[in-house]
């Protein structure tokens, strides 16, 4: 009996998907019943979509930069020399504990709006600052993920690589890190989802992302029902973007666990 129950639990129905569908249908039905509202929303959709591309762009760049820096930091955390280890450890400790919001604020306020490179003015727009603000915590988290993954590789693999004549860095590059990818993919994707959701914070510093666009739209239209619908749209947009990522992560985790 108990065994049967367990199996039932383990089987995960795509409740989230069902939920999104229900929510989406409700909104559509509502818009259908209140045609003028639907009309207005339709007019604003391109504007909102433009905002959302900003979220996607920021999140992709932030995770890309964060991953590159994070891997380096993670390797540094395991370096045999304290001089290399210490700064990485301090960086990771501080920025893993720092609220995303604060880091985004910090990035937008501390960096200049343009950089002078070889006498040319290169603009440093706000959204790039948001990328930096999110890449910093991302790199701290990825450093931890990388460190954990490297430590989970049996030392025998290091022995084998060094026995063949690989140097430490070659072992890392060719033998150890490739094996880490599989183990760290699920936490990496979790982080990606969390960074994507963090992009909404960029609205607070004036980056024209989805939430900011929604705000503009509700300011301009000034209808309470429209405001409600716009916020629901924002919710659904993020959900549709993040939910597949999280489902795929769960699938990967299950597949790895069954190994």
């Amino acid at each position: 009996m108990s065994i049967v129950l367990k199996q039932e639990r383990a089987k995960q129905l795509p409740f989230g998907g069902i939920f999104a569908a229900v929510l989406g249908l409700t909104v559509i039905a509502w818009l259908f019943l209140n045609q003028s509202l639907g009309q207005v929303l339709l007019e604003w959709l391109p504007y909102l979509a433009k905002g959302f591309t900003m979220n996607v762009l920021i999140s992709i760049l932030a995770i890309a930069i964060g991953t590159l820096i994070g891997i380096v930091l993670g390797v540094m955390e395991l370096a045999p020399f304290a001089v290399v280890r210490a700064p990485a450890l301090v960086y990771v400790q501080i920025f893993r504990n720092a609220p995303h919001l604060v880091l985004i604020f910090a990035a937008t306020y501390i960096f200049p709006f343009e950089l002078v490179i070889f006498g040319n003015y290169v603009p440093f727009p706000d959204w790039v600052k948001a990328v930096v603000g999110l890449a910093i915590p991302a790199s701290a988290h990825i450093a931890e993920i990388t460190r954990g993954a490297i430590q989970s590789i049996p030392t025998a693999q290091w022995d084998a690589a060094q026995g063949l004549g690989f140097s430490r860095s070659q072992s890392l590059r060719w033998i150890i890190l490739p094996q880490c990818i599989k183990r760290s993919l699920p936490p990496w994707m979790n982080l990606y989802a969390s960074i994507t959701m963090g992009t909404a914070l960029a609205s607070l510093v004036g980056v024209h992302e989805l939430l900011h666009s929604a705000n503009d739209a509700s300011t301009a239209v000034q209808r309470t029902d429209f405001t409600v619908v716009v916020y629901l749209t924002v919710l659904i947009a993020f959900f549709l973007f993040c939910y597949p990522v999280s489902r795929f992560t769960q699938y990967l985790e299950r597949r790895l666990a069954s190994r």
Binding site: A156, Q157, A160, L164, F166, R168, I175
Partner: protein, 264 residues
């Protein structure tokens, strides 16, 4: 024990090698000489320092005192990582726990070191790898992943991988202890072929009858010392040391039943 003067054919020589881990003295003065083309077996109880000797020879461990020579290289005097890596390229080592790289296919496991370290072209490396796979009788498994192979097959790949660097010397550390009795034979057969072809080899093993059959010299270690060495006959049949006799006859050691692959 006997301090032999290196002759022109000596490939490996250890003289009075001492090594401790912290306060735990593991090697207490090891002397050992291996001639080019010879097969030397090291036997002895668990914890007596057998693996440690192998690790000293390829520079994975550095002794506190004593001389280690491989060819013209003074291993104990190597200072930099680069120098030690140059040494390791000349010495193949195979471990008890195969330690194949799980993310690479059999072929890639064998070719990665020649390609990335020696800079050999992929085509050339693959050709050599296929020759080696034929030698260990695994031609048809080139594209399998380690997870898809049996223990015995994995260990044979590990041997092929060690040979891919064309070493002058191969060290085998209890290569059959992690295998089930049925697959031990496959692996021993491969090693027997290698030794017969004249590859200089040092084997740590618990397969007494196998050691007896293929070795030129057998060395018995106990407590960080080489307590006896000689021809297989001297050790296995004519030794007067009661410790050795009881070990060899499976009383004192963890000697496993022998499957020497005669049937393969």
């Amino acid at each position: 024990m006997s301090l032999t003067v290196p002759t022109s054919t000596t490939l490996v020589e250890l003289q009075d090698v001492h090594l401790s881990f912290g306060s735990n003295e593991v090697l207490k003065g090891i002397d050992l000489k291996v001639n080019k083309g010879d097969a030397v077996s090291i036997i002895g109880p668990s914890g007596s320092g057998k693996s440690t000797i192998l690790r000293c020879i390829n520079g994975l461990l550095i002794p506190q005192s004593g001389k280690i020579t491989v060819g013209r290289t003074r291993v104990d005097e190597l200072k930099t990582e680069t120098e030690r890596i140059a040494l390791r390229k000349r010495i193949g080592i195979v471990f008890q726990q195969f330690n194949l790289f799980p993310h690479l296919t059999v072929l890639e496991n064998i070719t990665i070191a020649p390609r990335k370290i020696l800079g050999i072209s992929e085509a050339e490396a693959n050709r050599h790898a296929r020759d080696l796979l034929e030698k260990v009788r695994l031609e048809q498994k080139a594209n399998a992943y380690p997870g898809q192979l049996s223990g015995g097959q994995q260990q044979r790949v590990a041997i092929a991988r060690a040979l891919a660097m064309r070493p002058e010397l191969v060290l085998f550390d209890e290569v059959t202890s992690a295998l089930d009795p049925e697959t031990v034979g496959e692996v021993l057969a491969v090693i027997r072929d290698l030794v017969r072809e004249g590859m200089t080899s040092i084997l740590v093993t618990h397969e007494m009858r196998f050691a007896e059959e293929i070795s030129d010299t057998v060395v018995f270690t106990e407590n960080g010392l080489i307590v006896e060495h000689g021809t297989p006959d001297e050790i296995f049949s004519k030794s007067t040391n009661p410790r050795i006799n009881s070990f060899v006859n499976g009383l004192g050691g963890r000697a496993t039943p022998l499957h020497d692959g005669e049937g393969i």
